[in-house]
Amino acid sequence: MAKKDFSLIFALAILLMVIIFSIFPQYIASEYFTHVDLSKRLSTPSLENIFGCDFLGRDIFSLIVWGSRIALLICIVPTFIGAALGVSIGILSGYVGGKTDDVIQRMVEIIVSFPGLLLSLTIINILGPGLWNAMWSVTIWRVTGFIRITRSLTLTMKETGYVEWAKALGAGRAHVMFRHILPNILTPIIVQLTFSMPGTLLSVASLSFLGLGANPPSPDWGVLMQQSRKYLVYAPWAAFTPGIFIFLISFAFNTIGETFRDIVDPRAKYVRI
């Protein structure tokens, strides 16, 4: 118990820190991140520059603080849009069944056959690199994930009493779907949402790391890592630090998701032989 509580507190603390970084970057980071000081190129962490300076002499700590906004944006936008679309389509597919369900399932299966990153790469190939294009390319993957989960949850829900009852009372399809099924499947979907966020961040950061996401001089953490990679020998902290922050957010969301899942689905915790 003790260990888990500690990691949960740690996770929440990290999230809080990143949220504060995003809302008030100008008060926390001492300088706007574009301030370049070439005399300090690749300097080691010091009192003045907590994480050192990158190859242009920019303070890495400032870059990270200003980049947290982008990181949170990356976490939230594709996940929520993906969830909104995915859940709607999933409920429709699961509830209506029949031909509609078959068609939607075929399409989902086809999209799922493509490795996620590769699909994103192709879409960026078409749309061109950029942060928003990278986010849209990741959204498609999220949508399919949510469709699958929502559909299986809807199928389970379809058999329950609520639905039969509502239908007996004369409820229309839309009413049943959104007033009965949706609220009941919301909790597992929220768990899935929490797990999706780090996945999205990692995907978009990977794309940025490959040079296909945000463009420099954006303080996006993936871009920072990509730029500093050349200087790994001289200044490893320049490349490691943004990566560690990506890891921290990922870890935070995953821990919170796991705890949440434990609350929602206690089976996995208590069974002992």
Binding site: K3, S7, R106, I111, L118, L121, I126, G243, V271, I273
Partner: protein, 308 residues
């Protein structure tokens, strides 16, 4: 069982077609027409029309699709703009490296992940389980590119033990494998643990306990035998995951597999190669899914009798 297999193949074929249609659509959505690329500055209306007729671009779209499909089936995936080699040659030549990496990673994932999962499940609820869970979340949250460059820094730059780039000996494959395996084994250990605990919650285990069997006997003869069945599916998805993870890792380590080919082509706007790679991977995943499904039916007798 055969009924299921035939049904499954019935799903496979339309999906395969759907994949080709999607890839064809993507290939046509790519910006810039091939005619413009070839003609460049010499483009006039007449020349463009001439080239279009020659390349078959003036025909209706479904005819273009059929021509494209025919080319694919005869192995012609187009030409790379950058290296001026046939796409099929590039893919064929580099496939072995990616497969090697994926197999090594799956092996490491399976050994490490499943063992940790079994230990976790055995000691469910204890401190060991909680620690392993923390380690799993750790491994799972690690961005693969961070792990990759950390490994390069420690083992290649500082300790000078292992090579950072390329392929050619066993030493070259160690770091990329460990990089992907860090995330993969964590994931696999969680899945194994979940699967085993779910089995352990079932009635037949309670019966076994009531009969007085020891915990070890129950775990080994009953829980694991049943719980490890979905592991086949899990190992297959681990293989797919390794294929997916290979893009970043191969790029970091300049490991000459298809993943590296894909990312290089996207950066250099080598559209033909990207489309070829996409098609290749999609079909590979589809076929892997099919094999796994059929294997699962073979291993799990319950599914076999369902149709009766």
């Amino acid at each position: 069982m055969w009924k299921y297999i035939i049904k499954r193949l019935g799903y496979f074929i339309p999906t395969l077609f759907g994949i080709t249609i999607l890839v064809f659509t993507l290939s046509r959505l790519v910006p810039g027409s091939p005619v413009e690329t070839i003609l460049g500055q010499h483009a006039t209306a007449e020349l463009e029309a001439l080239f279009e007729a020659q390349l078959g671009l003036d025909k209706p779209i479904y005819v273009q699709y059929i021509i494209w499909l025919k080319n694919i089936l005869s192995g012609d995936l187009g030409q790379s703009l950058i290296s001026n080699r046939k796409v099929s040659y590039l893919i064929f030549h580099r496939f072995q490296y990616t497969v090697r990496l994926a197999l090594c990673t799956t092996a490491v994932n399976a050994v490490v992940g499943i063992s940790l999962g079994i230990i976790s499940a055995w000691k469910a609820g204890t401190k060991i389980d909680k620690t392993l869970r923390l380690i799993s979340i750790f491994g799972w949250s690690m961005p693969s590119f961070l792990v990759g460059i950390v490994f390069i820094y420690i083992f290649a730059l500082k300790l000078r033990l292992l090579p950072a780039m390329g392929a050619g000996s066993i030493a070259h494959i160690i770091l990329p494998t460990l990089t992907i395996a860090a995330g993969g084994s964590s994931y696999l250990s969680r899945l194994t643990r979940g699967s085993l605990i779910e089995i352990a919650g079932q009635d037949f285990v309670k019966t076994a306990k009531a009969k007085g069997l020891t915990k070890s006997k129950i775990m080994i003869s009953h829980v694991m035998k049943n719980g490890l069945l979905p592991i086949v599916t899990v190992i297959a998805s681990s293989f797919r995951w390794a294929l997916g993870g290979s893009f970043i890792v191969e790029t970091i380590f300049a490991y000459p597999g298809i993943g590296y080919l894909a990312t290089q082509s996207v950066t250099h706007r080598d559209y033909a190669v990207v489309i070829g790679t996409v098609l290749f991977f999609a079909i590979l995943t589809c076929v892997t899914n099919l094999i796994v499904d059929i294997l699962y039916v073979y291993l799990d007798p319950r599914v076999r009798y369902e149709g009766r």
